[in-house]
Symmetry: C2
Subunit: 126 residues, 2 copies
DNA sequence: ATTATAGGAAACCAATTGGTTTCACGTCAA
DNA sequence: TTGACGTGAAACCAATTGGTTTCCTATAAT
């Protein structure tokens, strides 16, 4: 439900750092466009377009008040992201487990759980 | 550590549906490029470029084996995403709480779900 | 009534993106 | 050695993106 199957999905919406910043800013509460754009080095119009993209993705809600349009965070679509991420939990768990096994291994070295070269931090040879 | 300070960040990397699909595919294990590209309607070269972007973001690792290059998932950078997401947990919690309060609200109506209006912050000068 | 303010719409632009086709190179097989 | 296979690099292209400026319309405020 909620669907928000709009033309902008949440993945694409949060891909831009300005938009991620906007989400954070709008978490504090409702703000009109001009106030928002004051936080950014770009034009008000540019910010407005970012806001529209966020709104299309359902991440932000707009509300007209007099002559202003106030925006605020709607975190609901982030749940989709969370769901997507949760699929990968098992992988880090595996990795963590492998790492742990490696660290705790009583070095008979007979069954290296996984190559995992990420473990070693060579002193900077370069 | 890890840092993956590369030119492609994880947010941008997962913005593309093909790349998300690749991650899922590569979760099953190492695969060479041709085998991978067989799953997609686009050219091998196109898939290869997606793989490079994923690799730049640290989401995928490559390993040369004879004349093939095999790719596999590296979920580690997703932790950054998880961390980013976790910042917003409190918001859905609030929302959930508000919703719950609303649903459970019996008759007094004195506590509307969540006005959520915040006052305006300092006008950012001009 | 007139003027100033808030914000969206439109037209435009450069850079990036997602894709293609062609080519070159290293590796495996005959 | 000759040729086929697996892949990346390069050059190219259309569409999208992130931004701008200019204009237009509502809504205050005087």
């Amino acid at each position: 439900m909620a669907s928000a199957s709009a033309k902008h999905d949440v993945f694409q919406a949060i891909a831009d750092p300005t938009r991620r910043s906007l989400l954070k800013l709008l978490g504090d509460g409702e703000l009109p466009v001009t106030a928002i754009s004051g936080h950014y080095p770009m034009s008000r119009t540019a910010v407005s377009k970012h806001l529209r993209i966020l709104a299309d993705a359902g991440l932000v809600r707009e509300r007209k008040v007099g002559r202003e349009t106030r925006y605020r965070l709607d975190p609901e679509p982030l749940l989709e992201l969370k769901r997507w991420l949760s699929y990968y939990e098992r992988y880090w768990e595996n990795k963590m487990a492998a790492l742990k096994r490696f660290v705790e291994s009583d070095e008979d070295g007979s069954a290296p759980p996984a190559p995992l070269e990420l473990v070693r931090k060579e002193p900077p040879g370069e």
